[in-house]
């Protein structure tokens, strides 16, 4: 694929299989407190 380079990312569809443990940080508990961003949290699922 000379014209397209794909960056390595987590496959969101596959992440449904072992996801949803809820151990990750609540999005508003850190620096923002005034907006909602979920994509910048770390996954803490030990079983994934």
């Amino acid at each position: 694929m000379e014209r397209i380079k794909t960056i390595e990312t987590r496959d969101l569809k596959k992440s449904a299989a072992a996801g949803g443990c809820g151990e990750c940080q609540t999005s508003c508990q850190s620096a923002c407190k005034t907006s909602c961003g979920v994509a910048n949290q770390q996954c803490e699922n030990k079983k994934k």
């Binding site: 960056i7 987590r10 449904a16 809820g22 907006s35 909602c36 994509a39 770390q42």
Partner: protein
């Protein structure tokens, strides 16, 4: 859903439902834009016409690129289907645990900042400090409602939480006892204006708090304009040395220096760079939350400049990282390989369900931004959530709850956005704060671009 944009010399294609990120050349960029609405021969014609005269752009080349696009589509990395809507509602309905509290230990403050969304810590009510007994019950409430969740979060918030320092210390000691008994792991954070930091407080915070949030707006003149004490004096000179001392002793543990920008400093990157130049490396800067009539409120006219500032910030961060003096900006922290699963992406921030705020009197609210609004009182830490109708409204908040978000490429990054922002902008939590959306989308574009730049460097 596919989102394409050009930034800092990169052509970026996001396939939002799979989370895939592609960097492409101009030809592939154009072909992807045409792919779903046009037949192959139409695309060939269009591309050859646009790139007429370039020897390497041939019919065969365009067909080859189309094959690559089809292969990515087949692999679920491009034009992947949006299949998560039912999952969003089902998952949130099933989850009944509470895992995080914003503990308002002090509804009072030793600063008198004019833009404070908490009305100088009082939240439109009386000044008050949380008693140890109320705080202890809040921890008991959290543990009792946390189900099998092990990691529990408590943010000591205010007002200024260090105005209730003895209670903070006693509550942390109580929680450390309880976590052993119940197999929990408490993660504490504390948000402070810095005025009451001392050696003793520093050592305690550095030992017990997994993160501390330090409020500084950046340049002295910007900070002092709105963050004043009750005598009208700016607080910059009093707090900056204290923040430096705390961070020097923190031993690499997380912290954020967090500022707020307003209409007065739309060139807010200069404030971020100022923080970095002071030696702080974990930074956050948020748009002010206030009524549109406030003199410092951000305006529609500010938007193009704010977009430019976010781009400048990203470009400068790349430059500084290469030069060996990089820093972190909260909204640009994306971990594309080990980021959150799809459930986190679709269920929203958890306010009113797994995350609640507790007032000094033990009253529960969906989050710190709803505290003081009687319509949104959820119950209390002794009887639990009794206002089930309001909780149900919050349970309904997710990436698919708002019709306006249906075709938005960013919904799996913001998960439907902040309910409080929506409420303040539209009068209902199911509304959309469009101004915030515009800023959010620009930040995500920049954050992804930085990841792309890093990957290209590697």
């Amino acid at each position: 859903m596919v989102h394409q944009y050009k930034l800092n010399g990169y052509n970026i294609v996001l396939d939002t439902c799979s989370g895939s990120v592609h960097v492409v050349d101009d030809v592939a960029y154009d072909i992807i834009a045409l792919y779903q609405q046009h037949e192959a021969e139409e695309i060939v014609k269009e591309i050859l016409s646009k790139y007429d005269g370039l020897p390497d752009i041939t019919r065969e080349e365009v067909l080859l690129c189309l094959e690559d696009i089809r292969a990515l589509e087949k692999a679920g990395k491009l034009f992947s289907a949006d299949i998560y809507e039912n999952m969003a509602f089902d998952f949130k309905n099933r989850s009944q645990v509470v895992k995080a509290l914003c503990l308002h230990v002090a509804h009072t403050c030793n600063l008198n900042c004019s833009y404070c969304f908490a009305s100088q810590g009082k939240y439109q009510g009386d000044r008050a400090l949380m008693s140890f007994e109320v705080g202890k019950q809040a921890f008991d409430f959290l543990i009792a409602n946390s189900g099998s969740r092990r990691n529990l979060e408590v943010d000591f918030f205010g007002g200024e939480p260090l105005m209730n320092w003895e209670v903070v210390k006693r509550l942390v000691a109580y929680a450390r006892e309880q976590e052993k008994l119940h197999d929990k792991n408490f993660r504490f954070t504390l948000t402070t204006n810095g005025m009451l930091l001392s050696d003793e407080v520093d050592d305690f915070l550095n030992r017990e708090m997994s993160n501390v949030v330090l409020s500084l707006d950046g340049r002295k003149e910007i900070h002092d304009h709105l963050r004043k004490d009750y005598a009208g004096r700016g607080s910059y000179d009093a707090i900056v040395p204290k923040f430096k001392r705390l961070v020097e002793k923190r031993g690499g543990k997380n912290y954020y220096m967090r500022g707020t920008f307003t209409h007065n400093n739309v060139d807010f990157t200069n404030d971020i760079f100022h923080m970095a130049d002071l030696g702080f490396t974990e930074l956050s800067m948020e748009p002010v939350v206030c009524a549109p009539t406030d003199p410092y409120a951000l305006t529609e006219e500010d938007l193009p400049e704010l977009f430019r500032q976010y781009e400048l910030l990203a470009e400068e961060m790349i430059r500084r990282k290469k030069a060996g003096n990089g820093f972190v900006f909260y909204h640009y922290m994306l971990d594309l390989k080990n980021g959150p699963c799809i459930y986190k992406r679709i269920t929203g921030c958890g306010s009113g369900t797994e995350y609640m705020a507790v007032t000094p009197w033990g009253e529960l609210f969906p989050c710190h931004q709803f505290v003081g609004d009687p319509k949104y009182s959820l119950g209390n830490i002794w009887d639990g959530v009794t206002n089930l109708a309001v909780q149900e409204e919050f349970r309904h908040c997710n990436a698919y709850a708002r019709p306006e978000c249906r075709d938005c490429w960013a919904k799996l990054y913001c998960s439907g956005g902040c309910a409080a922002n929506a409420y303040h902008a539209t009068g209902k939590i199911s509304g959309v704060y469009e101004y915030g959306c515009e800023l959010f989308k620009k930040r995500i574009e920049c954050a992804v671009m930085m990841q792309v730049a890093e990957s290209e460097e590697a």
